[in-house]
Structures are given as structure tokens and as C-alpha cells.
């Protein structure tokens, strides 16, 4: 328990540092969103309007410390300011609208990829020397190919040429968002191809990683002993070998979970999917600082939460971490 408390303390500290950087960086850059807006309108703006906009965006000339305290206060109330691209929508609203799509698509795909990849990796190590070794060159190839290339190839073949799957949007234009059959099936239908690209592209790493650790673990005395005990192969493979081999892979899983929120940019661009990645792209294109700031904050927090979950998983799965050091 002390281990977890210590980790939690560390994460809170890291979160504070992330928040503070998130506050400082835009303020240390020259110019502000209003200047940009004014510049875009070639200066034809009423000074009173500029003042009003500054107020709306929360830009003040107060000293940095006062601004920082205000910023933290707003953050605790869940206020991240207003977006410029989608003015006057609040950043919070945009993020809460986009987040479920990203987490739903990339999160589920990451989970599937992890489970499937771990399973295949375990089997590939267990059945070394059989036909399953065939997954290795394929995995190595998939591991080397850039993700967007896989995504584009699949879109071209299954979306454009064969027309089996839609190639953009999160759901069809013919349905209205609601918790009913047609909408849900439309969402699943639209998510299928992007999810497949993510699974295919990221599974190779899992297979290779899991197989490598598993092969080492199979040489351990406790696996030989489990076999000598006359246990069934299935029990030796899972309860003894895989159960131990999975421990080093938890960290990489946590990292990929952390990047679910931030790492979806390419997928969402290729498939015009309305998630955090698309929003981030729009924010960057329009120099929408409040939105960028909000998204970065969400991404950093997601990474921290994922790491904390990994720590929790470690404590549950590895009794050695429960030892008070």
C-alpha cells in the first residue's frame, strides 16, 4: 500500500508540473490568440471589440502569479477557456464531445490488439518450430511498416476499391445519435476499418515482445518444474510461463494506453474521425491556443492515469512489488 501511496504522490506531482508547463508555455510565447485573430482580419477590428475578445479569452495583463492562481482555479472548475476555431464554444465542450470517440475507437482497438497479440505471442513461443513461426516474418514486416501506410492501403483496398467499409466519419448521415440499434450498428460499422488498421499495425509489436519474453521464461526452472510436476500443458503454459512473461509487458501496455488519447491523430486524419486527434489538427491549423492547451492537458493526464493503472496492475499481478522495501 505504501508503494501505491508513493506512486500516487509522484503522479500528483507530475500532474502539477504538466499543468504548470501547460500554463507557462503559451504565455511565454510572443503574441496571443487575439493578436492572431486581429492579424487574420488585417487589423480591421474595433479596439472595443479587441478588448471584449481579450476578456472572453481570459487574456489579462495582470502579473503572472495572479494569472496562475486564476488558471488553477478555472481548471478546478473544469474551465479551459473558449476555442477560437469554434468560437464561442468552450474547450471543455469540444473535448468532452471528441473524447468518447477517440477512447471508444482507439481504446477498444488497443485492447483488442493487446489481447490478441499477447495470445499469439504466447502461442508462438510455446509452439516454437511449428507453422506458427510463420507469424514472425509477418510481424517483423508489420512492425517495420509505418502505420499511416497500412491505414491508407486498407482504405484503398477495402474502402475505395471493394467498398466494404465506409472511409470517413464516425456514423452514417442517415442516422441520428441515440442509443438505438441503427445508430450503434452504424457506429460499429464506421469504426471497424480504422480499428482494424490500429490492431494490425500495433499487434506486431505485442506478438514479438510477448514471444521474446515468453521464450526466455520457458527456459526458467519453474517452468521445467511445472512440467516435471505432471501438470497439463495448458496449465504450464498459462499459470507458470505466460503468467510470469506478461509482467514486463504491462509497462508497454500502459504506455500504449496512455497514448490512446494522443496517438490517434493519424487514424483520425486518415478516416476523418471526429476524435481528439482531428480536433488537435484543427487547433494547430488555426493556431487555436486554448483548444491546443486543453488537448495537451488531457493527453498528459491520460498518460499519467494509464501509468498509475499499470502500477495497480503490477501490484495485483506481481507479489514481489507488494513487499515493503
Amino acid at each position: 500500500m505504501r508503494f501505491l501511496a508513493r506512486r500516487l504522490g509522484f503522479y500528483l506531482l507530475t500532474a502539477w508540473a504538466a499543468v504548470t508547463l501547460n500554463f507557462l508555455i503559451p504565455r511565454m510565447m510572443p503574441g496571443d490568440p487575439v493578436d492572431l485573430l486581429v492579424a487574420r482580419l488585417k487589423g480591421n477590428v474595433d479596439p472595443a471589440a479587441i478588448e471584449a475578445m481579450k476578456q472572453a479569452f481570459g487574456i489579462s495583463d495582470a502579473n503572472l502569479w495572479v494569472q496562475y492562481v486564476d488558471y488553477l482555479g478555472n481548471l478546478f472548475n473544469g474551465e479551459l477557456g473558449r476555442s477560437i476555431t469554434f468560437f464561442p464554444t468552450e474547450v471543455t465542450t469540444i473535448i468532452t464531445g471528441a473524447l468518447p470517440w477517440t477512447v471508444g475507437l482507439v481504446g477498444v482497438a488497443t485492447l483488442i490488439s493487446y489481447l490478441l497479440g499477447t495470445l499469439l505471442g504466447v502461442l508462438a513461443a510455446w509452439k516454437r518450430g511449428s507453422w506458427l513461426d510463420g507469424v514472425l516474418p509477418v510481424s517483423t514486416f508489420m512492425h517495420a511498416v509505418p502505420y499511416f501506410w497500412v491505414a491508407l492501403a486498407l482504405v484503398f483496398v477495402f474502402g475505395v476499391t471493394l467498398r466494404w467499409f465506409p472511409v470517413s466519419r464516425a456514423y452514417g448521415l442517415d442516422v441520428v445519435p441515440a442509443w438505438d440499434g441503427p445508430f450503434v450498428s452504424s457506429v460499429l460499422y464506421h469504426a471497424a476499418l480504422p480499428a482494424i488498421t490500429i490492431v494490425i499495425a500495433s499487434m506486431a509489436d505485442r506478438i514479438l515482445g510477448m514471444r521474446n519474453v515468453m521464450v526466455t521464461t520457458l527456459g526458467e526452472d519453474y517452468v521445467v518444474m511445472a512440467e516435471a510436476k505432471g501438470l497439463t500443458s495448458r496449465r504450464v503454459m498459462w499459470a507458470y510461463a505466460a503468467r510470469n512473461a506478461i509482467l514486463p509487458n504491462i509497462t508497454s501496455f500502459a504506455l500504449s494506453l496512455g497514448f490512446v488519447v494522443g496517438g490517434s491523430v493519424l487514424t483520425e486524419i486518415v478516416f476523418s474521425y471526429p476524435g481528439i486527434g482531428s480536433m488537435l489538427l484543427k487547433a494547430v491549423e488555426n493556431e487555436d491556443f486554448p483548444l491546443m492547451q486543453g488537448i495537451f492537458l488531457v493527453i498528459s493526464l491520460a498518460v499519467l492515469v494509464a501509468n498509475f493503472l499499470a502500477d495497480l496492475a503490477y501490484v495485483v499481478l506481481d507479489p514481489r512489488t507488494r513487499q515493503e522495501a
Binding site: A228, R235, L247
Partner: protein, 329 residues
């Protein structure tokens, strides 16, 4: 009465640099209820032999010849020919193994009690959960571990306790044969002594036979009934512990005896054995030991000695075979 008969067993390791004959035409008998010591330097093939008996070798190791016949009350089976299902039943119920380092042979993420329990669950499916729990506690108590330790994980136990736990696991199904592969090597001398004492007591109580493997010949002298000495994958001498101690006939045995300080008796110089164990891919012709042997003569580099019965035990040395010359002490 023999419980295990190893006949002509050979194990090769296939490697890119050539085939390694780790075990070469080894024949040994294990009698019911005895402790058979198996001694030799690192790389003499003693651990490979132990793994081969339980069919625990992994590629690239391969059993190329021989048989391991196990005697039940009224039938005998060749372990090397058992079908997978029969092999699983044979394992642990009739032959259990205690590995060198209990830190590595116990599953680090499983409580020690659970590691006994899963043997019972597989081999005794009729046992109730409660009965299994009682058996776990009894086994642990029998090796000197208190009942509340059954929920402990291996890393929470001391080295000696872990080895005791490994022995408790081996006893779980009351096997006829326990192979102990250097069970005390990783322990300090005091703990080592406790464990050896424990093994003897348990053996008298349960009546299992032990194949005890170690490089420490003086330790074997104390615990074993009979001893077999291995060199470069072959058995070079067998005999009772007493005879081997009193009159070793193979120069290698003599060398091993002089590699360890005696615990009792007059002080002797530690002579050891000059040179290093041979490359198993490319054994010297004739007797594999002759380049390191101080009693070697011309024929030793040409003729391969056979393991021949003598007045007591067997020995594979030309000194014994045709000349009758005594080993020069």
C-alpha cells in the same frame, strides 16, 4: 530390488559447432529406498542425465539411445516410451524432482501452498478442497515450515525455507523416486547440513529412493548409500560410499576426493585435478580423462576403457582392466 534401471542412455546436444555428447552410454541402477549419489565436475553430464530421466530435456538436447525402465509392483515401463498422458501421470506421482535453486524453481507469482495444491488437484482429482488444504499444511509442517507460511510467496522465504518448500512439493504425492539436482549447492553450510539431515529423515519415513546430484563428493560420501562418478558424459566408477571413500580405483575419483577438504581426520593437502574438463564436442581419443591423469600410460590415449565390475562396484580404467597396476596415490 531396483526401482529404476538406466540402460545405455545417451543424450546429444545438437549445436552449430558440432554434436555434444553430454551423456554417453550410461547405465545405472537405483534400488528401492536408497540414496544414489551422482558426482562429477560441471559439464560432466550429471544434470543432463537427471533431466533425461524425467524426460525434461528441451531441444537442442536429444535422447539418442537407451532406456529408463521404471519398476512398479507388478509391471515395468520404459519412461522414454511413455505416451504423453501416461508420462504426465508418471511425473511427480512416481518420480519427483528437486531443482538446484529453489528461488528459480518455485513460481515467483504463486504462493508456496498453491504450488503444492496444484499438484494435488491434477493428480488427485477426487480430493476435496479441504483435504488438499490439510495435506498442504501437513507437508509443510513435515519439512519444518509453519502452516501460516503456505500463503507466502517464494521471495518472502529464506533460501533454506525455499528449498524445504521445494522438498515439500516433491513429497506431495509420495513418489517412489526423487531426483535431487544439487539441492543444497546454493545454500550456506549450516543450512545445507539441516537440509541433508531432513532428506535422510524423510527418506527413512517415506521410503523413496533418491538420485542425489552434486559436485561435492565429500558431501555425497556422508549422505549416499552408493555413488556413481561421471566424467565427460560417462560413468567412470561406481561403488558404495564407504568403498569409494576408502579405496577409490579411478584416478579421477581420487582427484575429486582430494578437491574438497575433509571435515574430519588428519589434514591433507588439497591437490585437486590439473587441467580443465574436456570439450565434449571433441573428446580426446581413448580414455577421456587421460590428458589430466597422472597415472596415464601409452594405451590410455588409444584404448577406450570399459566399465567393468570389480571386487566391489565398477570402474572404467585401463589400470584395472589389463595391468592390475594400482592407482598411484
Amino acid at each position: 530390488m531396483n526401482v529404476l534401471e538406466i540402460r545405455g542412455l545417451s543424450v546429444d546436444y545438437l549445436s552449430a559447432g558440432g554434436t555434444v555428447h553430454a551423456v554417453d552410454d550410461v547405465s545405472l541402477d537405483l534400488r528401492r529406498g536408497e540414496i544414489l549419489g551422482l558426482a562429477g565436475e560441471s559439464g560432466s553430464g550429471k544434470s543432463t542425465l537427471a533431466h533425461a530421466i524425467g524426460r525434461l530435456l528441451r531441444p537442442p538436447a536429444m535422447i539418442t539411445a537407451g532406456s529408463v525402465v521404471y519398476h512398479r509392483k507388478d509391471e515395468q515401463v520404459d519412461v522414454l516410451k511413455l505416451a504423453p498422458k501416461a508420462l504426465r501421470a508418471f511425473r511427480w506421482k512416481e518420480l519427483a524432482v528437486v531443482f538446484q535453486s529453489a528461488m528459480n524453481s518455485l513460481n515467483p507469482v504463486m504462493a508456496v501452498g498453491a504450488q503444492i495444491d496444484d499438484v494435488l488437484r491434477i493428480h488427485e482429482p477426487d480430493m476435496s478442497r479441504k483435504a488438499r488444504g490439510e495435506r498442504v499444511v501437513e507437508l509443510l509442517r513435515r519439512v519444518g515450515i509453519s502452516a501460516d507460511r503456505r500463503k507466502s510467496y517464494p521471495h518472502e522465504l529464506s533460501g533454506g525455507m525455499r528449498q524445504r518448500a521445494a522438498i515439500a512439493i516433491a513429497l506431495a504425492l509420495n513418489p517412489e523416486v526423487i531426483v535431487m539436482d544439487e539441492p543444497t549447492t546454493a545454500l550456506d553450510v549450516v543450512v545445507q547440513r539441516d537440509i541433508l539431515h531432513e532428506i535422510r529423515t524423510l527418506k527413512d519415513e517415506y521410503g523413496f529412493a533418491v538420485i542425489f546430484i552434486t559436485h561435492d563428493l565429500s558431501l555425497l560420501m556422508e549422505i549416499s548409500d552408493r555413488i556413481a562418478i561421471m566424467y565427460a558424459g560417462r560413468v567412470v566408477e561406481t561403488g558404495t560410499a564407504k568403498e569409494l571413500h576408502r579405496s577409490p580405483r579411478h584416478p579421477y575419483t581420487l582427484g575429486l576426493l582430494r578437491s574438497f577438504p575433509k571435515l574430519r581426520g588428519p589434514r591433507e593437502d588439497l591437490l585437486g585435478i590439473p587441467g580443465t574438463p574436456p570439450d565434449l564436442r571433441d573428446l580426446p581419443p581413448g580414455c577421456a580423462f587421460h590428458p589430466r591423469c597422472q597415472s596415464a600410460f601409452d594405451d590410455c590415449g588409444r584404448v577406450s576403457p570399459r566399465l567393468l565390475p570389480g571386487p566391489h562396484g565398477e570402474v572404467a580404467c585401463l589400470l584395472n582392466e589389463n595391468t592390475g597396476v594400482e592407482v598411484q596415490a
